[in-house]
Amino acid sequence: MSSATWRNVFTYNKYTQIAARALRASLKEEERVAAEKRGVTILRYQRWENGHGGPMTYLYPPEDAAPKKPAV
């Protein structure tokens, strides 16, 4: 593999997160449960224009089965 084309699509951090997710999913049951906790993120962000915030969006939207988070 001379040149990897993933660099055009996403950053190195996303690359490591994907690889980490694959690794965690491949562990044995007990270790997997402990490792899954280290990969959890419920980050939300909003862009600001001129002193006013935009809408809050989830970085990784939770599935509908999960309980809804209250709006900020």
Binding site: A4, R7, F10, T11, Y12, N13, K14, T16, Q17, A20, R38, G39, V40, T41, I42, L43, R44, Y45, Q46, R47, W48, N50, G51, G53, M56, L59, Y60, K69, V72
Partner: protein
């Protein structure tokens, strides 16, 4: 003398309109003191339990902080060898705090540190962008420097921050089209279990790293340099997040500890007042009875 006493007895019946006789006031306030005592006792229970919870969380947070600091040290090593000659004035400030309150001065200390950086003339450009992690600091900074905020994050800090959080934040920064010369992360540094202080980590973006004189010694390709700059940003953010989380837990524990102490002081004082009031009322009644008996 008798007249004064009987006057006192009439006054002790609370139906008198308009008058505020001292005996009636004492009887009424006895109930008030009882109510206050009950509510302060409840508050003391709550703050004590919050303190316990914060202490257990602090132990866990400190362990995570020790582990997370290693990431930050690796960064520092790189930047020590490849420090830039001069940094531009347009700094991106990443302010790290959290969403929850009742933790002492955590949020205001980072907000004040950021405002101090802006207040120094010529140190940073006037419209340097700011990104805030945590709702409490967001509220404070949106009042102080509203035009500078470009993005805000929340839902970090509920539990120990993970590298996934830091990577998410770093990616959002890198993919947004915000212009900056260098990055400064403002966070609370853990000095000890009872004190913290605001501190700043400087991170160099890719351009600055390439131009740094010592960097050529590493002999890296451009692609790898870009990866490295992205990763160092996530590293630095992660180190700041875990340390700020540990500071927050220790500050909450101290704040709840002080609140519990104050509450127990208040309980002692109110109990004294209540007992004195109760005994005064009993004494007055006895005096009335004895006076009445002696009059017959």
């Amino acid at each position: 003398m008798l007249a004064r006493r009987t006057l006192g007895r009439i006054a002790s019946q609370p139906q008198v309109l308009g008058a505020a006789p001292s005996q009636a006031r004492n009887m009424a306030t006895l109930r008030e003191i009882e109510l206050r005592l009950k509510s302060v006792r409840n508050i003391e229970k709550i703050t004590k339990s919050m303190k316990m919870i914060a202490s257990t969380k602090l132990a866990k947070a400190q362990r995570a902080m020790q582990a997370g600091k290693e990431y930050g040290l690796a960064n520092a090593e790189l930047f020590k060898h490849a420090s830039p000659e001069e940094t531009g004035k347009r700094k991106l400030f990443i302010v790290v705090s959290s969403d929850k309150g009742l933790c002492g001065g955590i949020h205001s200390s980072v907000s004040k540190a950021t405002r101090r950086e802006f207040a120094e003339k010529g140190k940073v450009e006037e419209d340097s962008p700011i990104m805030v992690i945590g709702d409490k600091s967001k509220a404070q900074l949106s009042r102080a420097l509203p035009k500078n905020i470009v993005m805000s994050f929340n839902q970090i800090g509920r539990d120990i921050p993970t590298f996934a959080d830091a990577a998410g934040v770093a990616d959002l920064i890198l993919t947004s089209d915000v212009k900056y010369d260098s990055i400064a992360i403002v966070y609370n540094k853990f000095v000890s279990a009872i004190s913290y202080e605001p501190a700043i980590i400087e991170v160099e973006p890719e351009k600055l790293l390439k131009e740094a004189p010592g960097f050529r010694a590493y002999e890296m390709e451009d692609d790898v340099t870009r990866d490295l700059s992205e990763f160092t940003l996530a590293n630095a953010i992660y180190a700041a997040l875990v340390e700020a989380h540990a500071c927050e837990q220790s500050a909450r524990r101290n704040a709840m500890d002080n609140a519990s102490k104050n509450a127990s002081d208040m309980i002692n004082r109110l109990t004294m007042q209540y007992n004195r009031g109760r005994q005064a009322a009993i004494t007055n009644e006895l005096v009335d009875i004895i006076t009445g008996a002696s009059a017959l």
